[in-house]
């Protein structure tokens, strides 16, 4: 009986020890918070721990003479709804099928980002850029053996512009298209209403679809959307929902065939489990590792079998301010806010040094030939001085700055909107919240699910929010993000920032085909944005992947890894 009385005591002791050991572990990650509470932030420095390079480089030690054959297993953390990019630009579908199963007229070279031929062998531009004549490759076959011709290209454009088709998002990329013709089997002519520099780069994402397959049936939910018939170096073999998507080599590919026999996309919903599968050697390529996984969980045994591949993608996190709110109306106040955000600290503690502080939406290497915009340094003292100067003082002594606007006392109190589920964003916001409170600004953090988040941003029903800007081409028209006409009616200028010079640049730059002239204009735009700070640009986040040492011919690219160039030495197949 005495033992029985002891049971609860033992149990309690056990539970307490669990809790305290949990706390020990947490203290490591939560160090910065307790430190910032005390006064100045603790020193946190990112020594050169990682070797992260811009995309487009070969992974060292994976060269050699390619040998055909073998199977590569790739981690897929989600499943695409289907593969029809026209209907939904899904990231996973793009990675699996774009250029590998379904091809386009032209594409951006994954290494150099230059426009190179794909289904169009060559093209001519005439009529001051308003007519583009594509000469299509001959001898190209669809995966079902039928010949490819200009009728397929015309069919693709027919569907793109067909109001029956739910393709408004991609239709917008081609809003300048007037007409198209297919004068003969090998020629396709695109006539434009006005010249837009992004038309050719946008073609990189317009998958050419087989007319004979889609000719019958409802395009919006056609079975071929999930069982694509393309012209690419890989054929979709089968898709077992929730389990795997398997591509096999197209032996009758018009170009150099792929080296690999099969590529298996293995669906693993949980990233920690995928990581375990790497440890078991069941996955050859896992991308988008979490910062904690890179920083804490890579052991030498794993690294003896896998390369840690890191590069800078076109992926930038930023905070957007609703400039219609009284406290975000003035540019200098927004600059002060940026000075209060310790991006180095966030980079070091939350991001585990796997990102870099930047001053523009483009990564520093872009646009080509232009110097990067330096980020505004973290400087709380100077920020406070600016806020005082702008009339934001704590007049009622409640610890929060305020200002009399239109006869009303407005406290500097705003809500930061974040999508739920991201712990790194929560920690990031907590760090900023602390620093702002010390400067007399009260920031409330509110989390919502993505649907509500995006709706509130679009309706401008928010104070400040966090966004991630991901793109896959160096030639992006910034019109929709910064132009004042896009500040209402469903546009993505969420902050409703309006600036006359920026409008002028955006109106003009989209018609400029000469890249260096356009880049100079966009550089000026970036300078304006840096000056006005409608956004606080935070960090350019690295892409971290585990790539099995079995895989050769691997190089990084903002268009992900190129399966067609990967090969496996015969000994390791």
């Amino acid at each position: 009986m005495s033992f029985l009385r002891l049971v609860p005591v033992i149990l309690a002791a056990f539970l307490i020890s669990c809790i305290s050991s949990g706390r020990d572990r947490k203290r490591d990650g939560g160090r910065e918070r307790s430190a910032t509470d005390g006064g100045r932030p603790a020193a946190c420095a990112c020594e050169d721990r990682w070797r992260i390079e811009p995309a487009g480089r070969d992974v060292p030690g994976t060269g050699g003479t390619p040998e055909p054959g073998g199977t590569m297993v790739v981690h897929a953390d989600s499943e695409p709804p289907h593969f029809n990019y026209m209907l939904k630009p899904d990231a996973m579908a793009t990675w699996i099928a774009m250029h590998d199963v379904l091809e386009t007229l032209v594409r951006l070279d994954p290494r150099t980002l230059e426009i190179v031929p794909e289904l169009a062998e060559r093209w001519e531009v005439s009529d001051e850029g308003k007519t583009i004549t594509f000469h299509l490759r001959s001898g190209v076959e669809w995966h079902d053996g039928r010949p490819f011709s200009s009728a397929d290209v015309a069919f693709t454009f027919d569907r793109l512009m067909d109001p029956n088709v739910l393709a408004a998002a991609q239709r917008a990329d081609f809003e300048n298209v007037d007409r198209w013709e297919a004068p003969d089997e090998r020629t396709f002519v695109l006539r434009l209403k006005w010249v837009h520099f992004a038309t050719m780069p946008n073609l990189d994402h317009l998958q050419i679809l087989p007319r004979h397959v889609f000719a019958r049936g409802d395009f919006n939910n056609h079975p071929a959307n999930r069982a694509p018939v393309g012209t690419g170096p890989f054929v979709l073999d089968h898709w077992t929902p929730g389990d795997e998507i398997v591509l096999v080599k197209n032996r009758r590919y018009w170009g150099r065939p792929a080296w690999l026999d099969r590529v298996i996309y293995r669906v693993v919903r949980d990233r920690s489990v995928a990581f375990e599968m790497c440890k078991r050697g069941e996955i050859d390529l896992m991308w988008r590792l979490l910062p904690e996984q890179v920083a804490d969980q890579l052991d030498p045994e794993l690294l003896s079998r896998y390369n840690l591949v890191q590069y800078w993608p076109f992926k930038t996190a930023f905070w957007v301010y609703n400039t219609r709110r009284p406290f975000f109306r003035e540019a200098r106040v927004r600059r002060a806010l940026t000075m209060l955000i310790d991006r180095d600290m966030i980079r070091c503690s939350v991001e585990r040094c796997l990102s870099r502080v930047v001053g523009q939406l483009y990564p520093p290497e872009q646009p080509v030939g232009q110097p990067p915009i330096p980020p505004i340094p973290f400087d709380p003292e100077r920020a406070k001085a600016i806020l005082d100067e702008a009339g934001w003082r704590d007049s009622d002594g409640d610890g929060v700055r305020d200002k009399r606007i239109d006869g009303k006392l407005v406290p500097f109190r705003f809500t930061f909107l974040a999508t739920a589920g991201s712990t790194s964003l929560q920690r990031q916001a907590a760090i900023v919240q602390n620093e702002l409170r010390r400067a007399g600004i009260d920031m409330d953090i509110q989390q919502t699910d993505w649907v509500v988040f995006s709706e509130r941003l679009r309706e401008h029903e928010f104070d400040a929010g966090s966004l991630l800007w991901v793109f896959d081409s160096p030639a992006i028209d910034l019109f929709s993000i910064f132009h004042s006409s896009q500040a209402s009616g469903g546009g993505v200028n969420y902050g409703a920032w309006r600036h006359a010079e920026a409008d002028r640049i955006l109106d003009e730059a989209r018609h400029v085909l000469d890249a260096s002239r356009r880049n100079a204009m966009y550089h000026r735009l970036s300078e304006l944005v840096a000056e006005e700070q409608p956004y606080t640009v935070m960090l350019n986040q690295a892409n971290n992947s585990l790539v099995s040492k079995r895989l050769h011919g691997v190089y990084t690219s903002i268009a992900w890894y190129q399966e067609r160039d990967v090969w496996i030495p015969r000994a390791e197949q």
């Binding site: 019958r216 298996i264 709706e455 006409s485 469903g490």
Partner: protein, 537 residues
């Protein structure tokens, strides 16, 4: 007993609709709708006009533009034309409106032409551009080009042809063409363009035979620009598919072509609503399309429900298999060391979260390579022998089923223990003991049947869980089941999926309660089916 079941089934129907109506309201209460999920994912490249267009297209495709239960102002073709014409001069949305009008085709002529001359200048310019595109389809281009004043041409055209634009005329022509397919009639039909759509849909509703369907589907494809055609000689299944496809299309697009006047207007007030659009499909067990991937809900259910059913029924089975003996054992040993030890162990187990246990299993057993850690089958499952399949499936199921089972064992065994304690105090048990039945016989033969009642009730309530699935376990072990899909459907406001799951759960819960009641009667002879005997009491 059969009468009893029949009566219960009848009362289930209003209950069922009550549940769906309440769910329908609740589901639409939280902010945000599937459109937001769709637009946000389009990236930040699209212009405001394109986003607005996407939103409108998408709302229409999923009936989100309709009110929930009562439509006081049902939208029909003439109203839409009116709105679209007003929008024509808009520099950003004008081209979209024009495209929509051209898509509607000839059916807009009876609405547009009579008032063409009275339209404001800039609207008329846009309308004329639209009409010139429609002229190509009705074969009036040459005349139009020769005419000096297009407005006058169209007014004159209407004077001349209004007699043809009558539903009765369209019906007659369509019937004649469907029967014989003469080129002369076809030429006449082409001049009416999409005005014939309601007549063709009518004809499709009469289950046309192969040859007729060939001509009808070709006709409607020509005027709607949506190519879904049946050819003579294709299999019967294809014939049915084609008819179903066009019916589905009409279901979505009726208000683009129909005019609601008189009694039709009152009907439309009820039918042109989101709830009606949803409920009218329930009869045919079609739950519509998933807003996230445009796949039919029924297909997705067929794919995911069996997986969840397998995993959940195994876990329920094992939970009962272990919980009942454990409960009985604790009851028999009440207050003794074994009882307390079991209680402690079970409570500790029940308080460990499933994801934590699952992750630890993966990190230990999984890392050691003893059991697979994802999915239900290995690659090459299809080629395995029956025995190999069984082993493969078992090894995959072991960890997820364990994670689902251990939590419910605790609660269930407590129920069983209490029920058993209750029963062993009864007089008849004492009697049995007194007359010298062995202790084992007393428990298993005399007490057990009564002590099972509460857990049998619980079993009835487990039925919906069999289809509900578990979000965390499915995520962890990459199981393609219902839980994760439902979770994401709620996040992304996939109303059709949510409604389908709720409907199925409602049916299963009601069925479960019924089954439990019947089981009661079987386990306990004192409980009847509400027949004459019990009513008399």
């Amino acid at each position: 007993m059969i009468r009893y079941i029949g009566r219960r089934l009848v009362t289930m129907i209003p209950t069922f609709f009550g549940i769906t109506i309440v769910t329908f309201v609740l589901m639409h209460l939280p902010p945000g709708d599937p459109v937001a999920a769709q637009v946000g994912e389009g990236g930040m490249r699209a212009s405001a006009a394109a986003n607005a267009e996407l939103i409108e297209e998408y709302r229409r495709a999923h009936f989100l533009d309709l009110p929930l239960f009562v439509n006081t102002r049902p939208d029909d073709m003439p109203k839409q034309v009116q709105r679209l014409v007003e929008r024509l001069p808009d520099p950003e949305r004008g081209s979209w409106a024009a495209r929509q009008l051209v898509l509607r085709g000839g059916i807009i002529l009876p609405v547009l032409l009579p008032k063409l001359a009275r339209l404001p200048e800039e609207q008329r310019a846009g309308a004329l551009a639209v009409l010139s595109r429609i002229a190509e389809r009705i074969g009036a281009t040459e005349d139009l080009e020769q005419a000096a004043d297009p407005t006058a041409f169209w007014t004159g055209y209407w004077e001349l042809h209004r007699i043809d634009f009558r539903p009765a005329n369209a019906d007659r022509l369509v019937r004649r063409y469907a029967r014989r397919g003469s080129p002369a009639v076809l030429a006449e039909l082409r001049t009416l363009d999409s005005f014939i759509v309601p007549s063709v849909v009518d004809a499709l509703g009469r289950d046309p035979a192969g040859g007729e369907l060939d001509r009808l589907s070709t006709l409607i494809s020509l005027v709607t620009g949506r190519e879904v055609v049946y050819r003579v000689g294709e299999p019967e299944s294809r014939r049915r598919e084609t008819i179903a496809d066009w019916k589905e299309w009409w279901f979505k697009h009726e208000s683009d072509y129909a005019t609601f006047r008189g009694p039709a207007r009152f009907v439309a007030m009820a039918t042109e609503t989101r709830y009606f659009k949803w409920a009218s499909r329930i009869g045919s067990l079609s739950f519509g399309l998933s807003s996230r991937d445009q796949r039919p809900i029924a297909d997705k259910l067929r794919e995911k429900a069996p997986v969840t059913l397998l995993v959940a029924s195994l876990s329920v089975f094992f939970a009962y298999l272990f919980a009942i003996p454990l409960g009985v054992f604790s009851a028999v040993r009440r207050g003794r060391l074994a009882d307390r030890a079991i209680a402690v162990v079970l409570f500790v187990a029940a308080s460990m979260p499933g994801f934590w246990v699952g992750m630890n299993l993966i990190r230990t057993i999984g890392r050691a390579g003893w059991l697979p850690i994802r999915g239900l089958t290995s690659a090459g499952y299809e080629e395995m022998s029956l025995w190999g399949k069984a082993i493969d499936l078992t090894s995959h199921l072991a960890m997820p089923v364990f994670c689902l089972t251990y939590v419910s064992i605790a609660a269930l065994s407590r129920y069983q223990r209490v029920a058993m304690l209750e029963v062993v105090r009864q007089d008849y048990i004492r009697t049995a003991r007194a007359k010298g039945v062995a202790p084992r016989g007393v428990i298993w033969k005399h007490a057990m049947r009564n002590a099972l009642l509460p857990v049998v009730t619980l079993l009835g309530l487990q039925l919906p869980f069999l289809l509900g699935g578990s979000v965390i376990i499915e995520q962890l072990f990459s199981i393609n089941g219902m839980g994760l899909e439902t979770f994401e459907a709620i996040l992304y406001r996939d109303y059709n999926w949510t409604m389908a799951v709720v409907t199925l759960s409602a049916v299963l819960t009601m069925a479960g309660v019924l089954v439990a009641d019947i089981l009661y009667a079987l386990v306990d002879p004192r409980i009847g089916f509400g027949g004459r005997r019990s009513r008399g009491r």
